[in-house]
């Protein structure tokens, strides 16, 4: 037997294993990239850093929406040992059972994710991961708890940032934040469970700007998910970027003042700067303090209350409540009449009261007086001239033509359609045209007499308070407007482009003169319906309205702008079921104008009268929703 050959067997065996290993290593390390990906999956984690949301400023650079630090009490089960449930419950002010329940809740519910294979939701609780045990503790609460936490290993505090509203007003404007839903996470990859998202108002409309840019940190993690160091020395990390500041046209002091005036009332105030279309105030009464909807705990506690409140504080009245405009509509009829040439500023009509009722006043011999007296028959005649121009032989065909001419004018005022603007929850109101009446009555079956109630802003016509205020702004500008909007500048980039577009009405500017004169007389001449709106030091132009409605007492409406010569504020006040427009709405508008222009209200008696008035129970009925 030749044993010498056997050394070669062994040598070949060595070489074979050595080369197989080298080939394998070459493939694993150099050729095949899948192990590198696997290693990244194992050891490198992306950590997202959510920046604080953008700050919101008002027109005087006051912070109206800002961020405040809160604390989460975090827990990491792995580190918990010798846990004294009773002592812990005592520390956080819970019952023993509540503490146990919360543990159970976290283990069952936190970190749920949808299994891509089965499509089912799976709990992904891990002992090594930190979870917020109690969310959103205030600084006071945490300073009480934190010193004792060393007795409870596995628990620690973690800083988070949440919204705060220093002025306690404008809840309906700013909206609120809430945790994102699963659907939103699936829709937008930006969000992760637990992130906040704007739920209404500006927070919602400017969500993409306010949320900012998340920072991404690549870190090397251990098997227990602890960060060890930043990956590649932080070369690929990006910084979190706070969203840009939003500068609003809003005057927060005016807003808060308006909310104060409107307490114990239902209705709204909308104020616009005519020159820019910036909304100065948007009061929706009843209102609430936006701070009560900050954080999960508060939302859970207060949101249902607000939802069930019979005053419907969550309903965006200035944007969505469609009211009959009442007498303020007469201003538009006058403008259309003049533009169409069917009346002149000197036209006079008798107060016949035969077709429509009226109050007692002398006959108006010219247009400004017709406006001053708010004479219903006067505008009945004006409207009849617009609708029945006699261009067609058939009265029905004539009315159809006339109504559509009228409709085109009205639409150019931005009525009957939603503004493309930065508020959410808006409705369009309603302006009827021939198609509308054809649907109701049938083609060629209706004429002016059928639809006459629209001449005084009753009947089918519906307008939102925002649209009313915009009418005031259009009159102040003599024929044009910018879409009413909140944000005058995102960061320092100016407003959204659509707010720089001038919308022109179909009325020539000289036709506004007699209307403005009429509005002045409303406030300053004997027999004027809006004398309570007068403000010392400025000329106020206004128009009262008293909108009849099927829900009870008439709505009190007032529309105004001031000063007459160089309008700085256009305003609409709408107080539900408060009766005649001159009584409640006009003085409220006056106070708002005074506050805005002079920054201080001199007429304390008037202020006191409005603030203390409780108009809630004047035949209170549930508000109509279209």
């Amino acid at each position: 037997m030749n044993l010498d050959g056997r050394k070669y067997v062994i040598l070949v065996f060595f070489i074979l294993v050595g080369s197989i290993y080298l080939i394998r290593l070459f493939f694993m390390q150099v050729v095949d990239d899948s192990w590198k990906l696997r290693a990244q999956e194992i050891a490198e984690k992306r950590k997202e850093i959510t920046p604080p949301r953008g700050i919101v400023f008002d027109r005087h650079n006051k912070k109206v929406v800002t961020n405040r630090s809160y604390y989460n009490l975090m827990m990491k089960e792995e580190d918990i040992h010798d846990f004294d449930t009773v002592a812990f419950a005592k520390l956080v002010g819970w019952t023993k059972q509540e503490v146990k329940d919360r543990f159970y809740q976290i283990k069952k519910g936190e970190g749920k994710y949808r299994n891509p294979n089965t499509g089912k939701l799976q709990a992904n609780y891990q002992k090594q991961r930190p979870y917020p045990f109690i969310k959103e503790l205030t600084i006071d609460e945490i300073t009480r708890i934190a010193p004792h936490l060393e007795k409870f290993p596995g628990f620690y505090e973690d800083l988070t940032s949440m919204r705060s509203y220093p002025y306690s007003g404008g809840a309906n404007i700013f909206g609120y934040l809430n945790e994102v839903s699963k659907e939103e996470i699936e829709e937008d990859r930006f969000y992760r469970p637990g992130d906040q998202i704007g739920r209404a108002g500006i927070e919602r409309y400017y969500e993409k700007q306010l949320r900012g840019q998340k920072g991404i940190k690549y870190i090397v993690t251990s098997a227990l998910n602890n960060a060890i160091e930043s990956y590649a020395g932080g070369k690929y990390d990006t910084l979190a970027e706070q969203g840009p500041a939003l500068h609003l046209g809003l005057d927060i002091q005016l807003q808060v003042y308006g909310e104060k005036l409107m307490q114990n009332k239902r209705g709204c105030i909308v104020a616009i700067e005519p020159k820019t279309g910036e909304i100065l105030a948007l009061v929706s009464a009843p209102s609430f303090d936006p701070n009560i909807l900050v954080g999960r705990r508060n939302i859970g506690k207060n949101y249902p209350k607000l939802l069930l409140d019979e005053g419907k504080p969550l309903y965006p009245r200035p944007l969505a409540a469609e009211y009959p405009p009442g007498s303020i509509f007469k201003l538009l009829q006058s403008l259309i009449g003049l533009q169409e040439g069917v009346i002149t500023p000197e036209s006079g009509f008798p107060c016949t009261k035969s077709m429509v009722g009226c109050h007692n006043h002398p006959n108006a011999n010219n247009l400004p007086d017709g406006i001053k007296n708010s004479c219903n028959p006067y505008f009945y005649y004006v409207m009849r001239r617009i609708i029945q121009q006699g261009k067609k032989r058939s009265i029905f065909a004539d009315a159809e033509l006339g109504l559509n001419i009228w409709y085109d004018y009205i639409m150019s005022f931005g009525l009957g359609s939603e503004f493309e603007t930065d508020v959410t929850g808006m409705r369009s109101g309603l302006i009827p045209n021939s198609a509308y009446y054809d649907k109701w009555y049938g083609h060629n079956t209706w004429a002016f007499s059928t639809i006459r109630s629209i001449s005084i802003g009753q009947g089918e016509v519906k307008v939102t308070p925002l649209q009313m205020a915009n009418i005031a702004a259009i009159i102040a500008n003599k024929g044009w407007y910018y879409t009413p909007h909140f944000v005058r500048s995102i960061g320092n980039k100016g407003p959204l482009p659509q707010f720089k577009v001038v919308h022109k009405t179909k009325i020539d500017s000289q036709n506004f003169e007699p209307i403005i004169e009429g509005m002045r007389r409303v406030c300053y001449e004997p027999g004027g319906t809006g004398k309570r709106a007068v403000v010392e030091g400025v000329t106020v132009c206004g128009k009262t309205g008293t909108a009849q409605n099927p829900h009870g007492e008439d709505h009190s409406v007032f529309l105004a702008f001031a000063p007459m010569e160089n309008p700085k504020i256009a305003i609409a006040v709408f107080i539900e079921n408060a009766g005649f427009g001159g009584v409640w709405a006009a003085p409220t508008a006056g106070l708002m104008i005074d506050k805005y222009i002079h920054r201080k209200v001199k007429d304390k008696a008037k202020e006191q009268m409005i603030v203390s008035a409780n108009l809630l129970n004047v035949k209170a009925r549930p508000m109509k929703k279209k």
Partner: protein
């Protein structure tokens, strides 16, 4: 003294250099793998790198001792050394278990593993025994003694239990094969017990290593193919998968081999050929059947490991956690690696790869130095193995040669199994990588193995038998 002068002249500098380089790299690597930023000093003895330096120091000291002592002592005192190591193996079984095994003989916080030193004892005794055997005149008794020298310690080690070292002891069978210790007497006794059979020699007993390879190969094929066992469609769609497929293939190969051999062989050899093929076929079927049906009787965790290595199952984050993490660490190294102390998967701090400073020490190495590092490590081990074989083959004395082969095979086993499991080619068996893994016992035992070899080699000319 002539001998002392001859030490520097006759020591094998190649092998010594490789050992020293490995010791140095080993320290550097443990320092990286177990690095703790709170204890940056490499000589911090509270840390593993500090301790490793201490162990290296002790190992070098032991090496000097070995160099000072006359090499004849090992042959002379082979049996007492063996018995001393064996007694430690007995004593260790009465210690309290650590991590489920009674493998550690503690002296304070320092512990040694007697099984590591038993390798030296066994190598020495086996060398001495084989040097006394006349290869041409073997009987059942020689086989039994050789088997006993190797297998009695194996049983003791299995009692600890220490599967890794147990496997390493099978390396001695390669030495037996190399030295021509044949199992033929044993096999003949069994085969000739069958009535009517009279063999003077069998092929099986003397060529057991190639046969072992064939058996391992056949077992792997059987396990791979019997995944969907007992499926059998013959007439419609002739595919016969599963275990029966293996049997079918074996039979077909046997038939073809028979036809070819009958055609090329002379008439006189016809019966011999038929006999070899029938025996081969019968043994193959027996092995295949045994593997197939005994596999299910393995312990569940052993079954899992084999299935995972063969790729029959995937369980990356469960049972295959260690292997998967180790492979990710190795694979992520790329061509040049992530740089020294930059391992993100295999560092002790990240702890993705468990035991990354001991059994999985190759991971941080391959991750930090990339394929280039792997090449150096594999190259060093290959160089060491070749050098040992060269040394073995130049010895005049059988004792020295057998001892050298023992060292070669032990080092090779550790190298192959350890790196094999790091790159997913071997099941996870916990044995250290010589000179690299953290741990005193392994370091000391390997140093002594090699220093004894170096000493024996340096004195090879003095030996007369």
């Amino acid at each position: 003294m002539r001998r002392d002068d001859s030490l520097t002249q006759h020591v094998d500098w190649w092998l010594l250099s490789i050992v020293v380089i490995m010791l140095g790299m080993g320290i550097a690597n443990v320092y990286s793998a177990a690095y703790d930023p709170d204890h940056p000093n490499i000589f911090d003895f509270s840390q593993k790198y500090g301790k490793q330096i201490m162990w290296v120091g002790i190992s070098i000291f032991l090496g000097f001792l070995v160099f000072l002592i006359d090499s004849d002592i090992y042959r002379k005192f082979a049996i007492p050394i063996y018995l001393f190591c064996f007694s430690l193996l007995v004593v260790v079984l009465f210690t309290p278990p650590i991590n489920g095994a009674r493998a550690w003989l503690g002296i304070g916080t320092m512990g040694i593993q007697p099984a590591e030193f038993m390798k030296i004892g066994t190598a020495i005794v086996l060398s001495r025994y084989i040097s006394t055997v006349n290869v041409k005149n073997q009987n059942v008794q020689t086989v039994f003694i050789a088997l006993a020298i190797v297998m009695v310690p194996m049983v003791m080690i299995l009692l600890q239990p220490d599967a890794g070292t147990f496997v390493v002891f099978t390396s001695f069978f390669f030495v037996l094969y190399r030295e021509g210790i044949t199992f033929d007497p044993l096999v003949l006794k069994l085969v000739n017990a069958i009535p009517g059979v009279r063999f003077k020699e069998t092929w099986v007993g003397s060529h057991f290593i190639p046969i072992l390879f064939y058996v391992v190969f056949l077992s792997i094929v059987t396990l791979l193919m019997s995944g969907n066992k007992y499926e059998f469609t013959f007439m419609r769609g002739v595919l016969i998968p599963g275990f029966y497929g293996v049997i079918t293939v074996i039979t077909l190969i046997a038939l073809i081999a028979y036809l070819i051999l009958r055609w090329i062989s002379s008439r006189r050899d016809q019966r011999r050929v038929l006999l070899i093929i029938v025996t081969g076929w019968f043994l193959s079927v027996a092995v295949s059947t045994t593997v197939n049906f005994s596999f299910s009787s393995l312990a569940p965790h052993q079954k899992d490991r084999i299935e995972l290595v063969l790729g029959l199952r995937k369980d990356d984050d469960g049972k295959d956690y260690n292997r998967n993490r180790a492979m990710a660490a190795v694979g992520s190294g790329g061509l040049f690696g992530k740089g020294y102390k930059k391992a993100s998967v295999a560092s002790v701090r990240s702890n993705h790869v468990p035991e990354s400073e001991t059994d999985f020490i190759f991971c941080p190495l391959a991750e930090e130095w990339g394929f280039m590092g792997s090449l150096v490590i594999v190259g060093l081990f290959m160089g060491m193995l070749f050098r040992i074989i060269v040394i073995a083959e130049r010895q005049r004395s059988t004792f020295n040669r057998v001892y050298a082969y023992c060292v070669a095979m032990i080092v090779f086993y550790h190298f192959a199994v350890n790196i094999g499991m790091n790159i997913g080619l071997a099941p996870v068996i916990g044995i250290p990588l010589p000179f690299f893994s953290y741990g005193g016992s392994s370091l000391m035992s390997f140093s002594m193995l090699l220093f004894i070899l170096l000493k024996l080699d340096s004195q090879r000319r003095d030996v007369l038998f």
